[in-house]
Symmetry: C2
Amino acid sequence: MFSKTCQYGIRAILYLAVHTSEDKKLGVEQISNGLDIPKHFLAKILQQLTKHHLASSSKGRNGGFYLNTENKNSSLLKVIHAIDGSDVFSLCILGLPECSSQNPCSLHQEALKQRSAMLKILEDQDIQQIAKRIDLKHIKI
Amino acid sequence: MFSKTCQYGIRAILYLAVHTSEDKKLGVEQISNGLDIPKHFLAKILQQLTKHHLASSSKGRNGGFYLNTENKNSSLLKVIHAIDGSDVFSLCILGLPECSSQNPCSLHQEALKQRSAMLKILEDQDIQQIAKRIDLKHIKI
DNA sequence: AGATAAAAAGAGTTTTATATCTTATTTAAA
DNA sequence: TTTAAATAAGATATAAAACTCTTTTTATCT
Ligand code: FES
Ligand code: FES
């Protein structure tokens, strides 16, 4: 469903949502240790997310990555779109060139039902909310 | 969701279900033309499916690939398992080492709901049924 | 000002997925 | 019995994804 890069990106964002703020930043190394993700690879992903204004960073001493309020009000869908592109949920699940209810494949109806449900979850709740849930219910990141 | 190999495999099986039988076989070339799938690649996939007894083949003149009755009574889930392995629907969607309701990630509940629905569709209806639906409703393969 | 610690950027490597090519084997028709 | 047509098998090639390494830039602390 999601590329490994995207999985890493989502987890990194959630980790930042739980552990950082404007004045509590984390270096790549700490994040990569916390999530068990290859350090340099994670660095690339975080850079990409920062460019898309889904995470924030500051260079130099005491610098690091973090989520500001705006970042925390964003959604996981945006993270997914930034990494895997905006087609993930609109391409035919069987790889056919078109995907529409007018011209469906044999799994279209079922795929559509599920993807809309997943999409709703991913765009309706903001990252802040998910972070709160993670904290309260001790959910893994 | 599915690898390209798996998408090709599913489509090939459905194509065979609609167009072949014990005494109406098709060569790789015809199938690859019909589905617009690279010929040699498709050959590999069909060999794999034949080994798993999900398709049938006969060599030599007038040979080709086809589905016998048993093949048509199988399910798409078996096809998927034969190609992408049996973990597709049981691994954590975020790539975490475990996936269970006891130890869920932040998307587990939603992912589970959807995967069970998809699984049900994929194992409950047999290939024959899907083929009939394709035929009646002029669905793409 | 200089040293240091961090992200940013870019180049390079490895691994996996996808695709192709070549040769062998099998079967049936001519 | 020879030839043609098909799958089977194995080796190779290409492309994309995953991962690593090195250098540059920037900010902060001493
Ligand atoms: S046409 Fe295949 S999923 Fe929509
Ligand atoms: S734990 Fe992540 S999907 Fe089940």
